[in-house]
Amino acid sequence: MLTKKQLFTRGMLDISPHMLSVIPFGIICGAIGVELGFHPYLVYAMSFIIFGGASQIVFLQLLSGGASSLVAVASVGIINSRHLLYGAVLSEYLEKLSFIKKLLISYVVVDQGFAESNKFFKKNRSEEFLHYHLIGTGCTMWVCWQIATLSGIVLGSFVPEELGLKFAIPLTFIAIVVQDLKKLDHVIVMITCGLSSLLFFDAPFKSYIIISPIIALFVAALLLRLKK
């Protein structure tokens, strides 16, 4: 049995390599917000209140492009609706927690944290304090995201644009799913999702980000049937 502290530390260690892409991206997010002409306090408030990478950029770009706030808010909701899927997966491991703890832990569930903690959960189902791993990944993400966006806001885009560091984001997610390329069913699901996302990229409110996972999960359900 691992202690709470060990699990928390393990979570921190498991997510820390992703900071290689998260920190530059956070700096870019902060800098873009100020460049688009928003008050620095507002740009930072988003990191605290929304705490959701890409959705923050989209929100500001929409508003500065003249979209109504309703459209901007709806887009954030749709982009972040993928968390519903993460929650459905995680609920199995968090069911023993009290309602209050569930409410608190929910705030720090992010893409990379979900991915790394889910991998850990699958291998260590019997651990009693599993959720401390998720707190470890989530808090690490939270602290780094706050610092990174703040530095982008204060210092501007000191990361040279020519480096194209936004490209680190798809790379970080490649690192997350690449081992599943060993399984044919997962490969089919991934390709379905990827192609759908390109096909529906122009769908309103950035909804490709939830439409393509839903299509891919349908394909996964079909594959499960065929396997039987």
């Binding site: 209140i49 929100f59 995680l90 991934m190």
Partner: protein, 105 residues
Amino acid sequence: MTLTSIIFAGILTYFTRMTMIALISRDMLGDKIKAVLEYVPSAVFPAIIFPGIFINDFGTFIEMNDPKIFGALVAVIVGYFSKNIIATISAGLVSYWFLIFVVFN
């Protein structure tokens, strides 16, 4: 006002995170659904990966000889064999930089 919109967007985002964790109990999800949920990472992350590679900042498709495609392929190969996140990201970035700064320059 912008701050009000940010707060609404934040509440909405928090609900997407909290709903399934706090309001759904394990018994409400059947075995079949749980089996499908095993595929969530594979079903969600390519929707971030593919547009990040194949679509540029202006929302249009990139050319087939774009350095990003090469960088992503290198990242996949290095990631597959090294099982190391830092190696995967660095390999992708360095090969991408090599193309844009050395080869195409």
